[in-house]
């Protein structure tokens, strides 16, 4: 069982959260010329690193906030969690 420290609620079990994927991908900006390659990068292409991974989770059975979690994909160790709007 993973234990994730929600920045709003504190340490909670994994079963209260749902996963939202890689938090580093950026949606192309609105009202600008966006190439197919830009969309491809945003929608489909992922680094999926072995090691540190910054990812989105939603505390769906808690405060329902989206948060960012830095987790190691090899050891499952969670080093830090952030509010979704926090700049890192």
């Amino acid at each position: 069982m993973l234990h994730i420290k929600c920045p709003y609620c504190g340490l909670r079990p994994q079963t209260e959260f749902s996963y939202g994927g890689d938090a580093t991908v950026k949606r192309p900006e609105l009202n600008k010329e966006v190439s197919d390659q830009d969309w491809d990068n945003f929608v489909y292409l992922r680094k999926s690193p072995r090691g540190k991974h910054l990812e989105l989770w939603q505390h769906i059975s808690g405060c329902r906030q989206w948060i960012k979690v830095e987790r190691d994909t090899l050891t499952h160790e969670i080093s830090t969690t952030y509010k979704a709007n926090e700049n890192i």
């Binding site: 069982m1 994994q14 990812e55 987790r71």
Partner: protein, 418 residues
């Protein structure tokens, strides 16, 4: 190569089984090969075998970080099927079914292919409609499919929960009678033995640490056993694809995820078929040793850990008990986890890349084992002819940017939602 038969068995029995030839050698790598296949799993071994058999290219090395058959081919739930709706998947998998049916003879190795049939249970009228559509699509592609009603399902699997007051009552199911299981290790060993006998070098405990690329062409690889040159290199590394892609400065439409499976203690013969639960993600079959072999959802977050967490296992087995209540009485014998190369549309990639001479075979999601022969066959063709075969044309890498996805489940790009 020594042929395996009842006669060779008797002959060797008289000598106390001391004189069997080794099944494959343990060579030191040469400095150059015509083709290098990275990854000594089922797909890599099959690719090397078909390169030698179908294309007369036997100056081939398989480079494996661990030992052959030590990855997903050794830890899957052994299910073989071609019950797909989309043409690309259906025709590709059905081509594979023909290879499965002849595999034991072809490889002179008993892979114990057991076409026992797979039943996908339906739990609503809407699901019955969806299955009848899928079954029709399968039959149009020459794949056997039978739509079963509740009574027909009950005759085949009376041990399932057919009581009236269940949350997900069984309305019927879609059956592919020719689907089944095979002994997974034997598939790896059978391909390895034949490939070795045709001159392929199987190099184990040899980790790839880098690639030599110059002027957009692949020149060779750097490994823990030195540099090896080759003009053509194929990647067959499943869950490690993203790691090698990073060495090549490539970003792929793939995430690496964790999938668990488990077996119960062995019990007497009970379940003749492979059965899947339709209101969630759970599947079950019984091994020849009597264990119930079970699996289901991904753990749901990117992982290279090769070990799972209990919440997912509990979730999956809750579905199992909803389908087969007797499972609750069994003890768990073993659980394990492996890492899956989850592609963004749920379908694989067998294609050339932007680097000349570098070929990619990945994105098998949960379905890699059954695809072993067809994947090896088409990947060997793609490497030898430097262009995809008709069967794997749809599995190209640029379908994501062009929008020609093969999204069997219609789930889109969330690889962890299964």
């Amino acid at each position: 190569m020594q042929k395996y038969s009842v006669f060779s068995l008797i002959k060797n029995a008289f000598k106390g089984h001391q004189n069997w030839e080794v099944a494959w050698k343990d060579p030191t790598p040469k400095t150059e090969y015509d083709v290098i296949i990275i990854g000594g799993g089922g797909h890599g071994l099959a690719t090397a075998y078909y390169l030698a058999k179908e294309h007369n290219i036997s100056n081939v090395a398989i480079v494996e970080k661990g030992w052959i058959g030590g990855g997903n081919v050794g830890r899957n739930t052994t299910i073989i099927r071609s019950n797909y709706m989309h043409d690309e998947n259906g025709l590709f998998s059905e081509f594979g079914m023909d290879l499965w049916r002849n595999m034991s003879l072809d490889l002179n190795f008993n892979v114990m292919f057991s076409p026992r049939g797979i039943i996908n249970l339906a739990h609503s009228d809407a699901q019955m409609n969806a299955y009848s559509r899928r079954g029709n699509s399968m039959r149009l592609n020459g794949i056997d499919a039978v739509l079963l009603n509740r009574e027909e399902v009950k005759k085949i699997i009376p041990m399932a929960d057919f009581s009236e007051n269940v949350r997900f009552p069984i309305f019927g199911g879609l059956m592919q009678p020719s689907a089944g299981t095979a002994r997974h290790d034997a598939v790896a060993w059978g391909y390895a033995r034949q490939a070795d006998s045709m001159g392929v070098d199987i190099i184990q405990n040899c980790e790839v640490t880098g690639f030599d690329v110059a002027n957009g062409k692949i020149k060779g690889i750097q490994t823990s056993k030195g540099n090896i040159k080759a003009k053509k290199i194929g990647l067959c590394v499943a869950g490690s694809t993203n790691i090698l892609a990073e060495m090549l400065n490539m970003t792929l439409p793939i995430e690496t995820h964790l999938l668990q499976a488990c077996v119960s203690e062995p019990i007497k013969p009970l379940l003749d078929n492979v059965v899947t639960f339709g209101a969630g993600h759970f599947y079950c079959s019984q091994s020849d040793k009597g264990e119930m072999v079970m699996g289901g959802d991904l753990d749901g977050y990117n992982s290279y850990a090769q070990r799972g967490n209990l919440p997912t296992l509990q979730h999956v087995l809750t579905e199992g008990i909803a389908m087969f209540p007797f499972l609750s009485k069994l003890k768990m014998l073993r659980t394990w986890g492996g890492i899956m190369d989850m592609s963004m549309d749920g379908s694989p990639i067998i294609d050339k890349t932007h680097i000349e001479g570098l070929y990619l075979n990945c994105g098998w999601c949960y379905g890699g084992f059954k695809a072993t022969p067809a994947s090896g066959w088409t990947f060997a063709h793609t490497i030898a002819q430097d262009k995809p075969h008709k069967l794997n044309e749809g599995y190209n890498l640029n379908r994501f940017s062009t929008g020609h996805l093969i999204d069997e489940k219609g789930l889109g790009t969330k690889t962890w939602i299964s």
